[in-house]
C-alpha cells in the first residue's frame, strides 16, 4: 500500500469514499509518522487514543453513508485552540497544565464535519513570534534542509543543538512544519500579523487568513483581538478551501463574527479568472529586496496573466507605516488580554508574600522574554500621558491603511498580488542577537492585511536557488476569499507544489 501520509486531503477523502483504506488506517499511518518525526518538535501533545476513537467513529459513519465533508481526515490543532479535556498551553509555561472544559468553536466545527484530531501543534508563545523560537516547548524544525546539507548532516544537527537547521516560520510553525512533513493532512492556525502566511511561505504549504469576522475567535487564546483570525494550513489550495468551509461561520459567542452565509469555498477552485484585475502595489518593492523574490513576484503575475487576468500597477501609500502601527496596536491589545494570567484562576502560580508579589512572580516566571516585552510595550503605550501619542495615532493610521485598500478596490481591482515574505526560511538561532525589529520585518508584507481586516492567501510560487520554498500572497476584498482560491488554484496549476523529502 502507498504511504497514506503522502496523500493530499482531497486524495485521502477520495480514497476513503472508494474504501481503498479506512479512517483508522489513515490515522495510524499519521500517528506513526508523528512518532518518527518527534525530533522536529512539531507536536507538543500527541492524542493517539482520541485520534483512533474519532477515526473508528468516522469509519462507522462512512459505512452508514453519513460522511461529513471532512470525514476521517486527520488534522493537527495549533495549541492556541481550546480542546475540551485536552491540554492547551499556547506554548507558554504560564498555562501549565491547563485543560479546557470547553471546545473552541472552530475545532468543534471540524469535529462536527468528521475530522480526526491527531494532537496539538507547537507555536510561538501566545502566537508572538515569526520563527517558532519563542515557544516554551522549544523551536520547531523546518522539514526543508538548508542549501547543500546532506540528510546525515541534518540528522546530526537534529540530535544536537539544531543550529543551522531552518525555522518553519511563526507563529504557526508547528502547523506549517507538520503539514509540510506529512504529519497531518491539514492544520488549524491563527494569524495576527502574518502567523499563517509567513510559516506557509517558509514550508511550501498553503495558508489562508480569512477576512476578520469570518471565523469565530471563541475558545482561541487571545493575542490581539482586533487582528486575530483563525485559518487553515494545508498541502494544496483545494485542501485549504475544504478546511476553510468547515472552520468559517457565524457564532453567537463571538460578537465580532459576521453573520454571513459560508460558501462552499471548494467550488471556487477551477473557476475562470479571465477578466479579473490584479493589482501590483509599488510600495511592496522594498529596498534591498532579494532578486529571487522580485523574480518570483513577476512570475506570479505572469501566471495570472496567462490565465486571462489583467495586471495593473496600484499604490497603497501608507504601507510602510503598517508594521510600526502594528507594534503599537498589537502589544496594547496583548497587554490587556494577557492580564488574565494572574496565577489565581488557572495555570501556573508562584507564591508570594502578598497578592501583588504572587502576580508579579507568577508572570515573571510564566511568560517568556518576547511576551514580557510586548506586554510592557503595550502597558507603556496605553499609560496615562502616552495614549494619544501612540495608541490613538496608530488607530488613525490604521484607518488610513484600510482606506488605501478601499480606494484600490473601488477603482476596480479584484485582488492584489505580493510576495508573502522578504526572504526564504532562515536558520534556527540566526536572529538571536538581532534587535527585535529585525525579526518583526518578516511580517512586512503580511501585516497590512491584518490591519485592514482583509483576507490573504499564501501559497508556494517556486523555490530559491537552494531549493527552498518561496511564497506569494494574494490579498482580496473583504469576504471574497473565493476569488483568492480561484486565483491561487491558477498559480498552483502552473507553479506546482513544493515538497520536502524525508530525511529525519
Amino acid at each position: 500500500m502507498t504511504d497514506l501520509t503522502q496523500l493530499t486531503l482531497t486524495e485521502a477523502r477520495e480514497g476513503l469514499a472508494r474504501k481503498s483504506f479506512t479512517a483508522v488506517e489513515l490515522a495510524e499511518a499519521h500517528l506513526s509518522a508523528i512518532e518518527a518525526a518527534r525530533p522536529l518538535n512539531a507536536y507538543v501533545l500527541e492524542t493517539p487514543d482520541q485520534a483512533l476513537a474519532m477515526a473508528r467513529a468516522a469509519d462507522a459513519r462512512l459505512a452508514r453513508g453519513e460522511a461529513g465533508r471532512l470525514e476521517g481526515i486527520p488534522i493537527g490543532v495549533k495549541d492556541l485552540f481550546a480542546t475540551e479535556g485536552v491540554r492547551t498551553t499556547a506554548s507558554s509555561r504560564i498555562l501549565g497544565n491547563f485543560v479546557p472544559t470547553y471546545e473552541s468553536t472552530v475545532t468543534g466545527q471540524l469535529w462536527r464535519d468528521g475530522a480526526v484530531m491527531l494532537g496539538k501543534l507547537n507555536n510561538d508563545e501566545f502566537a508572538m513570534g515569526s520563527s517558532n523560537e519563542t515557544s516554551a516547548f522549544g523551536p520547531v524544525v523546518n522539514p526543508f534542509l538548508p542549501a547543500n546539507w546532506s540528510a546525515e548532516k541534518g540528522k546530526a544537527a537534529l540530535s544536537g543543538d539544531k543550529k543551522g537547521l531552518l525555522v518553519p516560520g511563526g507563529s504557526s510553525g508547528g502547523s506549517s512544519a507538520a503539514v509540510a512533513a506529512n504529519l497531518c493532512l491539514g492544520a488549524t492556525a491563527t494569524d495576527t500579523g502574518g502567523s499563517i502566511r509567513q510559516p506557509a511561505a517558509f514550508t511550501g504549504t498553503v495558508g489562508i487568513k480569512p477576512t476578520y469576522g469570518r471565523c469565530s475567535r471563541w475558545g482561541i487564546v487571545a493575542f490581539a483581538s482586533s487582528l486575530d483570525q483563525a485559518g487553515p494550513i494545508a498541502k494544496t489550495v483545494r485542501d485549504c478551501a475544504a478546511l476553510m468551509t468547515s472552520m468559517a461561520g457565524h457564532d453567537p459567542k463571538d460578537s465580532t463574527s459576521v453573520d454571513l452565509p459560508v460558501p462552499d469555498f471548494e467550488a471556487a477552485i477551477g473557476r475562470s479568472v479571465a477578466g479579473k484585475t490584479i493589482g501590483i502595489p509599488r510600495e511592496y518593492r522594498v529596498e534591498g529586496m532579494p532578486a529571487e523574490i522580485e523574480a518570483l513576484w513577476k512570475k506570479g503575475a505572469d501566471m495570472l496573466r496567462a490565465a486571462g487576468a489583467r495586471i495593473v500597477d496600484v499604490s497603497l501609500p501608507h504601507t510602510k507605516y503598517a508594521l510600526p502601527a502594528y507594534y503599537i496596536v498589537a502589544p496594547a491589545e496583548a497587554s490587556s488580554n494577557l492580564a488574565r494570567y494572574d496565577g489565581v484562576r488557572y495555570g501556573l502560580r508562584v507564591p508570594g508574600k502578598d497578592i501583588t508579589e504572587l502576580y508579579e512572580q507568577t508572570r515573571a516566571q510564566g511568560f517568556g522574554r518576547e511576551v514580557k516585552r510586548r506586554i510592557m510595550i503595550g502597558t507603556y503605550v496605553l499609560s496615562a500621558g502616552y495614549y494619544d501619542a501612540y495608541y490613538l495615532r496608530a488607530q488613525k493610521i490604521r484607518t488610513l491603511i484600510k482606506k488605501d485598500f478601499e480606494d484600490v478596490y473601488a477603482a476596480g481591482v479584484d485582488a492584489i498580488l505580493t510576495p508573502a515574505t522578504p526572504s526564504a526560511a532562515f536558520g534556527i538561532a540566526e536572529m538571536a542577537d538581532a534587535d527585535p525589529v529585525q525579526m518583526y520585518l518578516n511580517d512586512i508584507f503580511t501585516v497590512t492585511v491584518n490591519m485592514a481586516g482583509l483576507p490573504g492567501l499564501a501559497l508556494p510560487g517556486g523555490t530559491d536557488a537552494a531549493g527552498l520554498p518561496l511564497g506569494l500572497q494574494l490579498i482580496g476584498r473583504p469576504f471574497d476569499e473565493e476569488t483568492l482560491f480561484s486565483l491561487g488554484a491558477v498559480i498552483e496549476d502552473q507553479a506546482g507544489r513544493v515538497t520536502a523529502s524525508r530525511w529525519w
Binding site: 502601527a325 489565581v344 488557572y346 495615532r393 488610513l400
Partner: protein
C-alpha cells in the same frame, strides 16, 4: 521618544511582572529599539482622521437580556491552582 531605567521599572510594575535589576538594561534597550522604530508614525498627517474602532463595518448584535449560562462552578474552578468549595484561594488581601 525613549524610556529611562526608572520608566522601565515603572512599566514592569504596572504590568505586574517582576523584573530583576540586572534585566532592566536589556529590556530598556529593546523597548527603545521598538520605540525608535515606531517614531516614523509621527510623519503621517492624521488631521481629521477617525481612529479605527471596528475593522469590519458592522453593528454589534443585541440579544435578549436573559441568563444563558451558569451553574457550573465546578468547571470554572477546575483548573484553579488552589480552590476550596468552588472558591479561588488567594493570599490575604484585607487585614
Amino acid at each position: 521618544m525613549s524610556v529611562d531605567a526608572a520608566t522601565v521599572r515603572r512599566i514592569a510594575r504596572l504590568s505586574r511582572i517582576a523584573l530583576p535589576e540586572q534585566d532592566v538594561p536589556v529590556m530598556q534597550a529593546e523597548i527603545n529599539a521598538i520605540l525608535g522604530f515606531v517614531e516614523q508614525l509621527g510623519e503621517v498627517n492624521v488631521e481629521g482622521v477617525e481612529p479605527m474602532t471596528s475593522v469590519t463595518p458592522m453593528a454589534l448584535k443585541m440579544r435578549e437580556d436573559v441568563v444563558t449560562d451558569g451553574e457550573k462552578a465546578g468547571k470554572v474552578t477546575a483548573n484553579a491552582p488552589q480552590s476550596e468549595d468552588h472558591y479561588f484561594l488567594v493570599p490575604k488581601v484585607v487585614e
